[in-house]
Symmetry: none
Subunit: 226 residues, 2 copies
């Protein structure tokens, strides 16, 4: 239930300081010393937030930020920048690239923790994306409405929920078991193959928009944006 945070910094001392304080605050902490490691861990561990030093060897922090944002699997993970000596421009560029906040070094650990909590809080509020749009496909959760090029598509309750869960977790593959847990809620009384049937019905009704629904053989299903 603890939230994972990935700390990326090449100075071991700095990592330790941050790590200690984050654990103190009840987070689970991973760390990476360079860009390559950071990207790998971000993709595999899918942390709730990434603390990223701007000054890194080889690839610099901004570049990592860009790469994280480009990969759909990590694009939505909030990033808090750590800058050693921040000219105003750096800040702005960092934020434009999609960092969610920044702290200048030397920093007070307390401030960092507060900012991290703040960003996570914001994320939770924003995560309940009300209306999702992918090209011509519109998914409106509160209205329980799906449309393709403005034309409504009639879905049953389960079909809608299945689509919604997949779209909300877009990019990431969902196993049949996961889907059973998240869509059907009371689990495992149901055959996993039932998911297949519902996927078929969903694809039938979506028509051309079914291109967003991707089968990953041996694993499960996935919603793709493009």
């Amino acid at each position: 239930m603890k939230e994972k945070i990935l700390v990326v910094d090449d100075e071991a001392e700095a990592v330790e300081l941050v790590e200690f304080n984050l654990r103190q605050a009840g987070f689970e902490v991973l760390s990476a010393a360079d860009g390559a490691e950071a990207l790998k861990k971000a993709r595999t561990a899918l942390p709730s937030l990434i603390v990223l030093d701007l000054m890194l060897p080889e690839i610099d922090g901004l570049e990592i930020c860009r790469m994280l944002r480009r990969d759909p699997a990590t694009a939505r993970i909030p990033i808090v920048m750590l800058t050693a000596k921040a000219a105003e421009m750096d800040r702005i560029i960092g934020l434009e690239l999609g960092a969610d906040d920044y702290v200048t070094k030397p920093f007070s650990p307390r401030e960092l923790v507060l900012r991290i909590k703040n960003v996570l809080q914001r994320g939770r509020a924003a995560a309940e994306a009300e209306v999702l749009k992918f090209g011509d496909l519109l998914i409106d959760a509160p209205r329980h409405l799906v449309s393709w090029r403005g034309k409504a598509i009639e879905l049953t309750a389960t079909e809608f929920k299945l689509l919604l869960v997949l779209a909300q977790r877009r990019g990431r593959v969902q196993s049949r078991d996961q889907l059973l847990r998240d869509v059907w809620e009371y689990n495992s009384l149901i055959d996993t193959r039932t998911v297949d049937t519902h996927m078929r019905r969903l694809r039938d009704k979506l028509g051309p928009a079914a291109k967003h629904l991707d089968t990953v053989r041996g694993v499960g299903y996935r919603f793709i944006e493009a």
Copy 2:
């Protein structure tokens, strides 16, 4: 359909940053570099919201805020303040003057966008209430009156409240549990199927206007405008 937002700041860089992010978020953006221009554009373009820097040359932000509030044409436009270095006092004064929210510089553009959306949402929420009209159907909340083509429809207290809650949340599906919570208030002593019965009675009495009441199978009920 896009909402217009007026950004007032004398620093071109700041304007650009805000403008970029707001456009990204789907808003139409106007800008003004000083108070005079801001007042003029506010009056002519009537934006949905104004982002206002407190520190402006010549007239300062607070003064502009006051002037905007004094003019009936602009008095009800929400204002989000931008303060470079906010002593607590400044904030309070800003809010006392009728600013609807504030963000301190340097700020995360994401946060600004979120706050703006939030303020707009609040505005929309406040705008409803009082008297609702949908085609020939009139719902007068304070007077507890409903009419169809000018002819009054007699509703019981529960029926009225049910209709009102649905109409206020028009478009969005309400589950039976939600309705029980919001209409019956102290909940769960009551069977959720009771909602159905009241819906039936409501539909009976509304006659042709019942077309606004939509059933979403497996989920709940929804008020539709058209």
